[in-house]
């Protein structure tokens, strides 16, 4: 026993090293697996505050770019106003339908909230973005994030009371359902962690005509992203002879380096869609086990 204690005392520095190394590796892996490490919550509040101050200062220098982007959006919205359209003078007249059920009533599917980016990175394989809105402002996980001009940026993965963490499209675990604007065929958008200027679009069948420069938009099958918002343009077509699917390289529409003001988009039917999806899977798998 005495020898054991002597041994430990002699190599105490080494054991401290081992202990601390295990602690830090535990931090690393528990965070990557669950995204929910409790200490991140408090750390978020502190670093978020510092990031916010820095961003206030940085915003001053980036206003020109942001203004141009907003101006473009305003421009496109102005073109949609009804007063810009003239009804041609024809004999057509408006007939009021007598059906009692109001089939034209609409319900809201997406809700947009503004937020600004306080932390952003594009340099690592797993890039996260931090927003200055959190659960106090109604942000929850799985909401999508669009840039100020509507291009896709990422998905909220974790929230604290005043800040939210967004998994950027530049993250090796990110998978987003997107489609070609022209044909509507869908595929999965991923990133291989190499070039932040190029995303990968997989799973698009070779029967679909694709050209370099074709716009890629959020798919209508995505649970998170509102359909039709730009994701990028096809930059390179890699046709692998061994499969029936294209591998497309997509140039992202959002410039991840200078994100400033973004929209957090809530799919108001997300919970319903997700539970239905899960329950269906569960039911089918259960029925497999007990044949009727």
């Amino acid at each position: 026993m005495r020898n054991v204690i002597l041994f430990i005392r002699r190599y105490l520095t080494f054991f401290t090293f081992l202990f601390l190394q295990i602690v830090s590796l535990w931090f690393l892996y528990s965070f990557n697996q669950f995204h929910q490490a409790q200490f991140l919550q408090t750390a978020n509040e502190i670093t978020g505050e510092v990031n916010k101050r820095y961003k206030n200062f940085e915003n001053f220098f980036l206003q020109g770019e942001e203004n141009r982007r907003l101006h473009r959006v305003n421009d496109s919205l102005l073109n949609l106003l009804s007063q810009q359209l003239v009804t041609p003078d024809t004999t057509r007249r408006l007939v009021t339908d007598t059906v009692l059920i109001d089939s034209s009533r609409q319900y809201r599917r997406y809700y947009f909230r503004p937020a600004s980016v306080v932390f952003n990175s594009t340099n690592s394989e797993k890039n996260y973005i931090q927003l200055d809105r959190g659960s106090l402002h109604g942000i929850t996980e799985n909401m999508s994030v669009l840039n100020s001009d509507g291009s896709a940026v990422g998905i909220v993965v974790h929230v604290s009371p005043r800040f939210a963490q967004v998994m950027s499209l530049l993250h090796v675990r990110q998978k987003v359902n997107v489609s070609l604007q022209k044909t509507g065929d869908f595929g999965t958008l991923e990133w291989d962690g190499k070039d932040p200027g190029l995303l990968l679009l997989k799973g698009l069948p070779k029967s679909v005509p694709v050209k370099v420069g074709d716009p890629v938009v959020a798919s209508r099958y995505s649970f998170n992203f509102p359909p039709g918002y730009p994701v990028g343009t096809v930059a390179e077509i890699i046709s692998d002879k061994s499969t029936n699917f294209y591998l497309l390289k997509v140039k992202p529409a959002a410039r991840f380096n200078n994100l400033q003001h973004v929209f957090v988009v809530e799919n108001l039917q997300y919970a319903e869609q997700a539970t239905l999806d899960q329950e269906t899977r569960k039911r089918i798998e259960d029925s497999k086990r007990t044949p009727r």
Partner: protein, 178 residues
């Protein structure tokens, strides 16, 4: 006391440079990610005990991690750096002349050639472990090697001009060597 304040200021400065300058910079290349904050650990005084050095390394690493959203990654690499530091200093520095006359490792106290070896070895250790952890989940071995070498090279390229531009005042602790 003065020593502690000086080192705390250095920590804040390097933290700021790492998070808000080096990490905000437009991406140079996918293999090249410069980092500088561990210069704080290189410049810590000789007099710190190896065990205390480990704790300082852990805290420095965690501070960086909290800003860069990767808890544990830099802390783990810093621990390696702090664990190896006393051994490398022990090999490179002749005990009588530097540790007793100079406060901290610098080109003046260790002399240029050993100092560059000291910096290169520790930077290499730091980047090897950091990139190793990053690429464990992901990537090929060739990329791993290139990324380690490229990142080490760019970090050294930043550190050596800093040493040349900001020579630290190397006051003697005793009058003997003066």
């Amino acid at each position: 006391m003065k020593e502690i304040i000086r080192n705390l200021l250095r920590l804040v400065l390097f933290l700021f440079i790492e998070v808000f300058v080096l990490h905000k910079m437009p991406h140079l290349h996918r293999f090249i990610s410069p980092s500088l904050y561990f210069l704080f650990l290189f410049w810590l005084p000789f007099s710190i005990s190896p065990r205390f050095l480990l704790w300082i390394g852990l805290i420095t690493g965690l501070l960086i991690d909290y800003f860069l959203q990767s808890p544990g990654l830099h802390a783990s690499a810093c621990l390696w750096l702090c664990f190896l530091r006393p051994f490398i200093i022990g090999v490179l520095a002749p005990r009588e002349s530097s540790e007793f006359n100079y406060r901290e490792p610098s080109p003046q106290s260790l002399l240029w050639a050993p100092y560059i070896i000291y910096i290169t070895l520790l930077t290499l250790a730091h980047h090897t472990w950091l990139v190793f952890l990053e690429w464990l989940s992901f990537g090929s071995f060739g990329d791993f090697l290139i990324k380690v070498l490229a990142s080490t090279a760019i970090s050294l390229l930043l550190i050596i001009p800093i040493e040349l531009l900001f020579p630290r005042s190397n006051r003697f602790r005793t009058n003997v060597g003066g």
